[in-house]
Structures are given as C-alpha cells and as structure tokens.
C-alpha cells in the first residue's frame, strides 16, 4: 500500500488536448510577473508545460526576450487574444499569433465588458466557429454557463475554459455547481480559468472534475510567486487525486465515525 501511495505522486497523469499530451494539469499565465527571471523560476516551480502569451505592439525598449525565456523553460506556448472585444479582432489576433509563434493553438478571449472582463458569448461562439474552420485548436475562455460551454464544444473547440470568477479577482469558484455541470455537459477537457486566488481554489476545481487549471495572477501577484507556483502544483495534484478517490456525500446531520457498540456504561 505504501508503495502504491508513493507512486501516486510520480505516476504520469497526462492531460490530453487535441491529441497532444501535456505532463502537467496546471497551465500558467505569464501576465503580472515583475521580471522574466521570476517568471522562469515560477514556471519551473509550477511544473507547467503550457503557458499563455499575449501579442502587443513591439516595444523597442523591451529588456530581455520573453520568447527566449519561454524557449529555455521548455514550455509550449498558448497565445491568447486578450483585449479583443469583437470576433473580427480576435480572429485577426489569432492569425497573427499563429504567424508569430508557429502554433495553431489559441486561447480565445472575446471580452464583452471592460469592468468584469466577462466574455461576450455571441462573439465568442462566432469567433470559435471561424477559427476551428480555419484549422485552429481553440481553447475558449468562457463563462460558467453549461449551455454556452456545450455550444463551444459543438462547434469544435478542443477544450472549454470556464471562469471561476472575473479575471484577476481572486474570488475563487463562485458557482461550483455550474462548473460541475459543465464537466458533465461536454466531452472535451474542462480547464478552470480565471478567479483562482489561492491553492485551495485550484484543488476545488480539480475536485469538481476539471481536467486542468489555468492560473496567472494568483501566482504572479502572490507575495512569493515561486512558492505559490509550487503550492498550485501540489493543489492541482491533490484535487485530482481527491476527485479520483471520490469524496463522501454531504449530510445535514452528523454520522458518528465511532460505533456505539461496546460503549461503556458508567451508571
């Protein structure tokens, strides 16, 4: 039994998206790190194999090359369409990302509101459909709506990435019931994206049946990003194991764990 348990920590448990195996179920956003060195150390501590990058106007004064740091870390890139508010902009951005990073994987974000950064469902489905037709492997950032998640899967998205709470809010999973419904409603991988504040949120996502978790701000803006990256790695693993182990049902009243039989009678 001891051997069996020890092997649980090391045995491969790859995440399969669009036929590609990833050795870690933790995806890391690269936004918010105060230096490329801190990013590199956090990537290592997280054990991630897939990290997001954005495309922006080139900065002639930029110090160090993000691309070189990520190549040295040995991680694959998941470009995003952050900041796009229309299907048209997201599609152009995805095509530019394909040129820049030589990958047809895209984290599709089509934002509908600048305060909450919630996705625009109508534009999102429209963009997803066109990008799938154009040969992209589309991972859409979506709301926690099971119907929308199913529509995205139906148009051919390779995974769905529902939010737990607004981007960068650290509010955790506001509607765990919906996340579990999403897991039941699609056959593609479900990646909990956005809202994670700390390790227990990541564990909860996995316990709800999510296949992976994407964290960015929770790590990059933690007091110690490298230690938090490691904590997230452990949390994702713990949550994954707990989900597989099967939690006990919730009860309203207590159920004694010590049997009544054999109880002493003290008169």
């Amino acid at each position: 039994m001891a051997t069996h348990l020890a092997s649980l920590d090391t045995q491969p448990d790859p995440l399969l998206i669009a036929g590609r195996e990833l050795g870690s179920r933790l995806l890391l956003g690269t936004g918010g790190f105060s230096s490329l060195e801190l990013l590199a150390d956090s990537i290592k501590a997280s054990g991630t194999q897939l990290v997001t990058v954005a495309l922006r106007r080139i900065d002639p004064n930029a110090r160090g090359s993000l691309i070189d740091v990520l190549a040295d870390a040995g991680v694959s890139l998941l470009p995003n369409t952050a900041g796009c508010y229309t299907a048209r902009d997201a599609i152009i951005t995805a095509k530019l990302a394909r040129e820049a990073f030589e990958t047809n994987w895209i984290k599709l974000e089509v934002i509908g509101d600048e305060d909450t950064l919630m996705p625009d469902a109508v534009e999102l489905v429209r963009a997803a459909e066109q990008l799938v037709d154009d040969g992209f492997t589309v991972l859409p950032y979506t709301t926690d709506d099971p119907v929308l998640a199913r529509r995205l899967a139906d148009v051919g998205c390779a995974a769905v990435m529902p939010l737990g709470a607004p981007i960068g809010s650290g509010m955790g999973i506001r509607n765990p019931y919906n996340i579990a419904l999403i897991r039941d409603s699609v056959t593609v991988p479900v990646v909990l994206d956005a809202g994670i504040g700390t390790a227990s949120d990541a564990a909860q996502a996995m316990e709800l049946g999510c296949d992976a978790v994407l964290v960015a701000s929770a790590v990059s803006r933690a007091k110690d990003p490298v230690v938090m990256a490691h904590a997230m790695r452990l949390a994702v693993r713990a949550g994954r194991l707990a989900h597989a182990a099967g939690r006990i049902p919730r009860r309203t009243y207590a159920q004694a764990s010590t049997p009544d039989a054999g109880r002493a009678d003290f008169g």
């Binding site: 495309l55 922006r56 930029a62 152009i92 820049a100």
Partner: protein
C-alpha cells in the same frame, strides 16, 4: 503617410516593403515571435520581403508580451 504601430512615419514611404519597416525597427526578417498586419490583414512572414505598402497604410508590428 505610413503609420507604424499608431505613429506616423516620415522615413518609410509608400512602395517600400514590410521588411523595410522591420529594418526601421531594427528587426530582422527571421526575428522570432513577431507578426505583422497591414490594414487589418495578416502578412505572412514569407511575404515580408515582397509586400509593398500603399499610401496611407497602417502597419501593426506585434511581438510576444506577458499576458493571460
């Protein structure tokens, strides 16, 4: 007038190529992680040395940035 990343340029003229724009930004045509759009159309890397800019062209030169 040609616009590069939102700024009007005087030293890049209509008729010059995307590759000339990259040179102006001190980038080589094989620079990693760079993409170019002209007037909202993606210009593939393979076309950078051939694609010439029309008068009034709006050029976007993008690269990897931390995000997501």
């Amino acid at each position: 007038m040609i616009t590069i990343n939102g700024q009007s340029q005087t030293d890049i003229q209509a008729g010059q190529t995307v590759a000339a724009v990259l040179e102006r930004l001190e980038l080589s045509v094989d620079a990693r992680g760079v993409a170019v759009a002209v007037d909202g159309e993606v210009i593939p890397r393979s076309a950078w040395t051939m694609f010439t800019l029309n008068e009034g062209a709006r050029v976007e030169v993008l690269s990897a940035m931390q995000g997501g």
